[in-house]
Amino acid sequence: MKKIIAILLTVAVALFVFTNLYSGDSDFKAFGEKSLEETVSKEFVNKTVDPQRVQPETGSANIVTSIVVNYRGFDTMGEVTVLFVSALGVALLGGVLRKKVTFRYKPGFIINQGMKIIVGIILISGIYIFVHGHLTPGGGFPGGAMIGSAFLLMYLSDDKFRTRIAAFKVLEGLAGSLIMIVGLVGLSTGGYFLYNFLPNGEIGQLLSAGIVPVLYVLVGLKVGSEVSNILGDFFIGEVEE
């Protein structure tokens, strides 16, 4: 009975959305039919938001990155804060549990040493991803998450490692503070918060795109440390042997 009501309601609401969104008089742009000209994105793609600046106004080859870090950098700042808060929350909530997770298996020497190599590779590729965030797909979020997953492997392979996470606290705070400081420097130099006060350089170069790579590296570090913190805190808990 309950499921039938649930299905009926869901279908009704879905119909509500479908019939209205795709009705004849709806001016919602159909899938794949839209044109960039009608959105604000055309200026992002052409990099012509502010004609008074030195062209190209952002040097990032990856347009998504230029949006995430530059045009809508404020969102990213907020979103890093969300992750920061949830990491804090996980730590606070996990503090109640107080027990360490132990696994039934003991990681052997081969796993231990092999892991270290793999972790190194993953770390490097993660760092590569966020350093090249303004050029290639990827960036701070996947890069940071990769760093986090590298440490996940460390956690899994090494029992002792699970305690050594104090450094991440410093790292997350430091990276976060640096993001804010970069923003504030922009405010003091250019008059706008998160203002791009560095030269843009040429599209496609590593040292291009002004503060974009700087910020994205910081975001990557921050996301990485947050994810690692969350993972570390998740290893605290009552897990049966």
Binding site: V64, P137, F141, P142, S149, G237
Partner: protein, 82 residues
């Protein structure tokens, strides 16, 4: 062609979504969720969103699944029940 792949992927996503919601065992749900994420990565790629695809691959199907599994490990019984 690529449209058709997109539709098929989308249909698979729905199927796995329903499976994830309705499956009796929690661990199965988690696995279906992980598969769902992977399929959505494919969709993201089809829709020309490589950044999102990478992020979703790492976070959606990687980290989130891991978090679920750690939580499930807390109680073996809960993992088996329903």
């Amino acid at each position: 062609m690529i449209e058709i792949i997109g539709v098929i992927t989308g249909a698979l996503i729905i199927v796995f979504g329903i499976l994830a919601v309705e499956s009796k065992k929690l661990i199965n749900s988690v696995v279906y969720l992980s598969l769902l994420s992977l399929l959505s990565v494919l969709s993201f790629i089809i829709m020309k969103a490589p950044d999102v695809a990478i992020t979703e691959a790492v976070i959606g199907s990687g980290l989130v699944t891991f978090l679920f599994i750690i939580t499930l490990m807390q109680d073996k019984k809960a993992g088996d029940k329903k």
